[in-house]
Amino acid sequence: MFESPFAMREKAFAAIQVIIDELVVETGARGILVIDRVGQLLSRTEKMEEFDTTSLASLAAGCVAATGGLARLLGEKDFPSHFHQGESGSLYINRVDERGILIVFFDRDSSLGLVRLRARKGSAALAHVFKESQKENEAKSSPEHSAFANITDEEIDNLFSD
């Protein structure tokens, strides 16, 4: 069965932004990303704009997938959170639910304990937004709300015109 697309609308994005903007202040982190399990960037805090967030999202999703694979080989369901420590900056990665991943980038102005504590609360809030977003999408999954149902072959071909 083909997996249905993961769609998010304005209300959900606004809610995610509020959560991560608060979280970045509460943790004293340098920045926060929210991505999906496939590696698509959903949202980021302002200071993350200086980084290549597209690549970060893809690599973090690969990292989460690989860590999950390790867990299953060892008889665990998953390792839902992991931590990468650098000389000055560190990453804390936490699985939000089946679809989302929260990434906190922090340095010596913060601490792992604080990040872990606040990230747990933030992840729960994000999971709630994802759930509500899914409900909204299911309610709007009729042809009149569809963006692509009526696209023509010509429109698809036009994407490839040089």
Binding site: F13, D52, S55, A149, I151
Partner: protein, 196 residues
Amino acid sequence: MSFINYAAREINCKIVYYGPGLCGKTTNLQYVYAKTNPDLKGKMISLATETERTLFFDFLPLALGEIRGFKTRFHLYTVPGQVFYDASRKLILKGVDGAVFVADSQPAREEANIESLENLQTNLVEHGLELSDLPWVMQYNKRDMPDAMPVEEMRKLLNPTGVPDFAACATSGEGVFETLKGVAKGVLSNLRKMGI
């Protein structure tokens, strides 16, 4: 699993290049990267060994243009082709929206092509998918090799259901963009079919 961002009016899709070791999956992405306008592409990431064999994946984000006011973005991934990296291949297929199977035209790689195609089918099943559910295209790569098998023979062997197929030489770029266009069209047509 494509991601539709209604706030930014963007649609993101994942395409995976699959195939046996050394068939030219990474070379396809390198050619696309080299020939794409810098405004339309992100950085190409290659997680490779010291001998430039793919260890986990290559990744290249591409923007194609707008359709009905939505920016279309494609994330291209390759899998590691070597047999013993099967666990990694399974992970990379997660959320795939479309696939390119890159077959090696050399007769010595005939068996490796078949094994890899069967491996793709097996690994898709782990994600609850059949190959027939997925928009995918076949690329017969390395057409420049002097002993390349005839395309018709490869088609019979690897593409009995007649998905769109393309002859290619990824090192010179012949057939590379045609293949990409073929799979991207399949992915967008599938979204249309799903009524997204």
